[in-house]
């Protein structure tokens, strides 16, 4: 009988009787960690950025090299995110709505950019399109620059951010099944009507969620882009690369001013992400 009581789950619920001290202690510890590892660094970015006053901050941001870095980052995002939306939709659609051989291989391939180090993600493009790479001689012969130029940055960004949209959609579409699509077909819809009237409205919040994550990562990507960029000021520097250059030149105010821009974007992303998570959870 005593044994039965010992394994009774209701008999052992220590946290229900936790002394207040322990509860407050643990909460305090969690808060302290939060402040130390998240709030403090974030605050430091803004403090450093404005240390020399608003004018220095503004000057750092309107400097032509910074403006060009912002433009390049936005360009890379503006091309890689729509491409990943297309790839992601196509991949998720194929994987969740059809049966075919090699499906598992495809699902695994999509995850590769998550698995490899960003440096490798940059290097693969150098190996393919670099001067010593497979297509290097041909590209040089035709005067086309990919590595150490804007196309390379876009390629690397697209590669690194590839899984975000696809993974989000695969999970969502798998849970929704294919019955609504079948219903649409039986009711006489063609493939486009089925996609735009049934599938897309069902996945739109999940798709936006994937786009937000993808955009955040594309803006912040450092490693892969660093390998293919060549760090040519005013030409192939994205925002994160520009921060590094300014920092290495001891231009702390400038570096942190640009970093604060990225931080603001991160906070906006976070808010959007929360909102979309809440939206996707709606019936």
């Amino acid at each position: 009988m005593t044994n039965t009581y010992a394994i009774n789950p209701h008999a052992t619920q220590p946290h229900a009787k936790d002394p207040t001290l322990v509860r407050w202690g643990l909460t305090g510890l969690a808060l302290a960690a939060l402040v130390m590892f998240i709030v403090l660094p974030l605050a430091a970015v803004f403090v450093q950025a404005f240390e020399k006053g608003w004018h220095v901050y503004r000057d750092a941001i309107v400097q032509p090299e910074t403006v060009s870095a912002i433009e390049l980052s936005l360009l890379a995002v503006g091309i890689s995110v729509p491409m990943n939306v297309l790839f992601g939709l196509a991949a998720a659609w194929a994987i969740t709505k059809f049966q075919f051989t090699g499906k598992n291989v495809l699902t695994t391939l999509i995850d590769i950019p998550f698995g490899v180090s960003p440096v490798i993600s940059g290097l693969v493009w150098v190996l393919v399109f670099g001067v010593q790479g497979w297509f290097g001689p041909w590209l040089t012969g035709h005067d086309i620059a990919i590595i150490f130029a804007v196309p390379g940055i876009i390629l690397a960004t697209t590669f690194v951010t590839f899984p975000f949209v696809a993974r989000e959609l695969i999970a969502l579409m798998e849970s929704q099944g294919t019955e609504e699509e079948e219903a649409a077909l039986v009711l006489g819809a063609n493939t486009w009507q089925m996609f735009f009237r049934v599938t897309l409205p069902n996945i739109k919040w999940g798709l936006l969620y994937g786009v937000v994550l993808c955009t955040a990562r594309a803006l912040g990507e450092f490693g892969a882009v660093s390998v293919v960029s060549g760090h040519i000021r005013g030409q192939t520097n994205t925002l994160p690369l520009h921060v590094e250059i300014l920092y290495n030149e001891y231009n702390y105010a400038g570096a942190f001013a640009v970093a604060s821009l990225l931080s603001v974007l991160a906070v906006i992303t976070l808010a959007l992400k929360k909102f979309l998570e809440w939206k996707t959870a709606q019936p």
Binding site: E179, E180, E182, A183, A184, L185, V186, L187, G188, A189, N190, Q193, R197, V198, P201, N202, P283
Partner: protein, 248 residues
């Protein structure tokens, strides 16, 4: 409009879901496909609808070969087991869907679509729920919306996959009487899948009993109940007490 299935065979991977199945359903007839789960009844229904292609054999609708035509071209009404209502559309838009996706040349005017949908809402006795979303309806209401949506395109045959499976006993009994009357008004061939012996014997004109990818027996409820063709049918119908047959 008749349905004729001849020598249909369907394999999924290593599992033979249907082994040489033949069945004919006449216009005006309500046929039940009855069998335990895994017997191939849903696969047969999906093959008639064009949602699956048979590995061999043919499907004729109205005596025309429809084996290679798509689900879209077959003009069948299909009610899915879990209704498959479009969750982001209102009840009204769900029912109107089949009319709205028609090519411009055959699409009814907005006014005609409205009239048709309102008629169907009246038929399923849910006139006041047109602007609700599927998630706001009860199981029985969803079921009726799914039926109205299938009927909106004036299907030549009506196919129902476990139409009452997810409903509680009382709603189920009401709905199956309602389906029976509806079918009699429509003069089309209807087929429904069920694993409930009582339901099949009570509602259908004829019953096809399936087991392990084969049709074991086809006949009127009275006939299969009183003269089971083999040990499986006898065993499968043994404990049933169909009220329709009991009074006869």
């Amino acid at each position: 409009m008749s349905i004729e299935v001849q020598h249909v065979r369907k394999v999924f991977g290593t599992h033979e879901a249907l082994k040489d199945v033949s069945l004919r359903i006449e216009t005006g007839e309500l046929m039940a496909l009855l069998g335990p789960s895994g017997s191939g009844k849903t696969t047969l229904l999906r093959i008639i609808a064009g949602l699956e292609l048979p590995d061999s054999g043919t499907v004729h609708l109205n005596n025309e070969d429809a084996t290679r035509s798509t689900a879209r071209d077959r003009r069948v009404g299909f009610v899915f087991q879990h209704y498959a209502l479009f969750r982001h559309m209102t009840v009204f838009e769900n029912i109107a869907f089949g009319l709205r996706v028609r090519p411009k040349s055959t699409r009814p005017s907005e006014r005609d679509i409205r009239v048709r949908v309102l008629d169907l809402l009246k038929l399923i006795q849910l006139e006041w729920l047109g602007y609700r979303y599927p998630s706001q309806l009860s199981g029985g209401q969803r079921q009726r919306v799914a039926l109205a949506r299938a009927l909106a395109v004036e299907p030549r045959v009506l196919l129902l996959d476990e139409p009452f499976g997810a409903l509680d006993a009382k709603v189920r009994r009401e709905l199956r009487q309602w389906l029976r009357r509806l079918h009699d008004d429509l003069h089309i061939a209807s087929v429904f899948v069920t694993h409930d012996q009582e339901e099949a014997l009570e509602v259908a004109d004829r019953v096809a009993i399936l087991s392990d990818g084969n049709i074991e027996q086809v006949g009127t409820p009275d006939h299969v109940y009183r003269h089971p063709a083999n040990a499986f049918v006898e065993e499968f119908l043994r404990d049933v007490n169909p009220r329709r047959l009991a009074v006869e």
